[in-house]
């Protein structure tokens, strides 16, 4: 950084090391690169090759079972975690651009992150317990 008066890219400290927003800037790009592969594959495979009509309960059960099931569960978990992390941060960008009231900004951001964490929990439960796993757990708990 030669001068302090014009700094179009604010992602670095004046010594060149990325600051917090700079790391987030990089995070959005790295998660974007990963998702360009995984999300496009998810669309081509689930929506085009298999077809949404054919994704039945038994289809999911089979896909999530056996050794290949471990791969599919990890793949689906990566979509869940990376998509939510990238998406929640993207929502935060919009909140920061449009909501300048500090208190409202904080409350909205907290609400979005709270909802995000809750949904990540729901999604993880479904992936870990598997197709029908939640119902079975329910039955065992209620006798």
């Amino acid at each position: 950084m030669a001068t302090s008066s014009s700094r179009p890219y604010q992602g670095k400290t004046r010594y060149g090391a990325p600051n917090h927003e700079g790391r987030i800037w990089l995070f959005m790009r790295l998660t974007g690169l990963v998702m360009f592969i995984t999300v496009v594959f998810h669309l081509l495979y689930m929506h085009m090759a298999v077809g949404v009509e054919n994704i039945t309960f038994d289809n999911i059960d089979a896909r999530w079972s056996g050794p290949a099931g471990v791969f599919w569960r990890l793949f689906d978990a990566s979509l869940l975690f990376i998509g939510m992390a990238h998406g929640m941060n993207g929502v935060r960008f919009s909140i920061n651009d449009y909501v300048h009231n500090k208190i409202l900004n904080f409350l909205l951001t907290a609400a979005v992150y709270g909802l995000g964490l809750f949904l990540i929990l729901l999604g993880s439960l479904a992936i870990v317990l598997g197709a029908g796993g939640l119902g079975n757990l329910f039955q065992r708990l209620t006798g």
Binding site: G51, I55, F57
Partner: protein
């Protein structure tokens, strides 16, 4: 609220041509995908309970005719956001490409349409 309206108005009235429209669509598609993802996670959680709830979710939220039409909007949103995101990443890491910005946006839009059209036909095939 007034500030919100004013800043959205400023966003769409600023004559930034390709880059400005590309950015607005990137933001709108990103937020739209987030909303879909919320619904997607909740519905999968319900479907994972057992075959009964699964069948209901599958029939109403994913394969009913209105759902198939909305799916085409989702495909457009995801494809646009993915390709435009790649454009942003590529130009950020190779700033010299910035002077071909307009051409790159046009190439990107062609790619989106080339993938979207067959995808939309496959998606809507079942309901006609």
């Amino acid at each position: 609220m007034a500030a919100l309206v004013a800043s959205i108005y400023r966003g769409i009235s600023y004559r930034g041509a390709e880059g400005q429209w590309a950015w607005i669509l990137h933001r709108a598609s990103g937020l739209g995908i987030v909303l879909f993802l919320y619904m997607h996670i909740v519905s999968i959680f319900i479907a994972a309970i057992g075959p009964g709830p699964y069948a209901w979710v599958h029939a109403t939220l994913y394969t009913s005719p209105p759902a198939k039409v909305l799916e085409v909007f989702l495909l457009f949103g995801v494809l646009y956001h993915a390709f435009n995101g790649m454009r942003i990443i590529i130009i950020d890491f190779f700033p010299a490409l910035g002077k071909y910005q307009r051409t790159i946006v046009r190439i990107e839009l062609v790619l989106v349409v080339v993938v979207l059209v067959p995808a939309a036909i496959i998606t809507l095939r079942g309901i006609f």
